[in-house]
């Protein structure tokens, strides 16, 4: 926060005060992406397709079975919708940060370091990818259908949970992207390893955590908290009991998990940035 207020007091642009520069950055990106309408539409369609592939896996599996890990097809669609919505929104907001290996290799990160704004905030606002809304649209569609099809008792508690979960889930995935980016400062050509972390946790989040072996359940609950983004809230929404190792009420703890991930993320990012020595260009 200290960085942010220092940047604000210098007022790099006249308009908007503290958030002015970010607004300028984001709106420039949005304008450039919307400049070629047909190309943009195709990209959105492509992003929708990526979501469709993911859902096809669920569809094919359920064409031969009826219950997986305690959830039926409708229940799994709810789980998928929640997880995929959170991940696609995080991908839209900060997913482009996985290009950091390119910035490190070519030395373009130096340009970000020279500007009077926090580097992470600059990177996040520098390349928001609107086309990823396609995937969010698919996730939202699946989620809405799932909410209609499942026998859900819409109590105030369930509605609150439905509002909290996508926000906190998005925060969790955003945090995971930042952790992965922080680790990149030590790896060379390690972007694929970062993918294992971010896309892998998304993949795990779209399936019931109960199908995994105990070590993997511990991993996806306490280390990489993918289970909090969708599985545990889904149990609560559907009124199902949790497996012995995690009571269903843990579904309320998604915001706490998000806070924990962000704590680690900011530490990892800071350590990484301090480790960076520049290309000398």
């Amino acid at each position: 926060m200290a960085d942010l207020s220092a940047a604000g007091s210098r007022r790099p642009t006249a308009a908007g005060g503290l958030l002015g520069p970010y607004r300028a950055l984001v709106s420039s990106r949005l304008r450039s992406q919307l400049a070629y309408r047909r190309s943009f539409a195709l990209d959105v369609l492509g992003s929708f397709g990526v979501g469709l592939i993911e859902f096809a896996e669920v569809y094919v599996i359920f064409s031969s079975i009826s219950v997986l890990g305690g959830l039926d097809f409708a229940g799994l669609a709810l789980l998928f919708g929640l997880a995929s919505l959170s991940f696609s929104l995080a991908d839209l907001l900060v997913g482009h940060i996985d290009r950091i290996p390119t910035y490190l290799r070519t030395g373009t990160l130096d340009a970000f370091l020279l500007r009077p704004l926090p580097v992470l905030a600059q990177l996040v606002t520098s390349d928001i990818q609107l086309r990823r809304l396609g995937r969010s649209a698919l996730a939202l569609g699946v989620l809405v259908v799932a909410l209609v099809v499942n026998p859900i008792d819409f109590t105030p508690a369930v509605i609150t949970l439905l509002l909290i979960t996508p926000i906190a889930g998005t925060a969790i995935f955003c945090g995971l992207f930042v952790v992965a980016a922080g680790i990149q400062f030590w790896l060379i050509e390690g972007s694929e390893m970062a993918n294992a972390f971010t896309y892998g946790s998304n993949y795990a989040a779209t399936f019931p955590t109960s199908i995994f072996s105990l070590p993997m359940r511990v991993l996806f609950t306490f280390v990489v908290p993918a289970a909090f983004t969708a599985y545990l809230p889904t149990l609560l929404i559907l009124g199902l009991p949790g497996p012995a190792w995690t009571p269903a009420w843990w579904g309320w703890l998604t915001p706490l998990a998000a806070l924990a991930v962000w704590g680690v993320a900011l530490l990892a990012w800071r350590a990484g940035l301090r480790h960076y020595t520049g290309a000398g260009s």
Binding site: Y36, D43, L45, S47, V60, A196, G200, Y203, F207, S213
Partner: protein
Amino acid sequence: MSVAALAVLTQTGWKRWSAYRSAALAGAVTNTVFGLIKAAITMGAVGAAGGTLAGYGAIEGATYAWLAQALIAPVNVFWSNDLVDRIRSGDIAVDLSRPVDPQLAYLCADLGRAAFSLVPRGAPPLLVGALVTGLALPGQLLPYVLGMVSVVLAVVVSFACRWLVSLAAFWLIEMRGAATLYLMTSNILCGLVVPVHWFPGWMAAVAAATPFPSMLQAPIDVIMGRVTGVDALGVVGVQIAWAAGVLLAGRLVWTLGTRKLVVQGG
């Protein structure tokens, strides 16, 4: 055009990819992590189906997932933009002026790449799979020998398909849409996501009409011994037919594309 030149091109394909060891390691870690998740899902699905699903027991399901992860890199089921970039930048003119056939030259480089990635990117997922879930692999030698032939053919089919789609860059300015569409259909229909044998009827019919199962499902079926004897030869025969057919289509489109191509400068 000599065989020696093609051998050198294959070697350079190997060298280009073996230069980045840490990238290969990072890729192997990724394939393994996804393998862990995928194996859990297939085993869960088989368990939910009552112990067997389309001939796969729990261990066979896991083995399928691990073999698929091991073959991702050699077969290159994901997209690569090499040729598209060269067509767009005009570098393709350099390829045209070389005394080797461009398609054969690129195929050889791709075979070199595949040969390198086979062990460093294929072995880690299989080792972890053997330790974590166990692997259901045949005890005889023959499935592996025929399996290697099938893997090579899978690499050729995958190359031929990517070559054909890349050539659209002669006519299109923005290739991302076409590439995404190709990735979507091929990834589902090749069996990367779930075995083709689990598909509902209509999807299985669609898959059978495309070359995609020849890229992943076919070599895995041969290696796992799901098809043996004459059936296995039949699967390999289908692969050969697709490889030849798509390569030929690629040559035809290449001729049409280069006739249209105008490269500026000199």
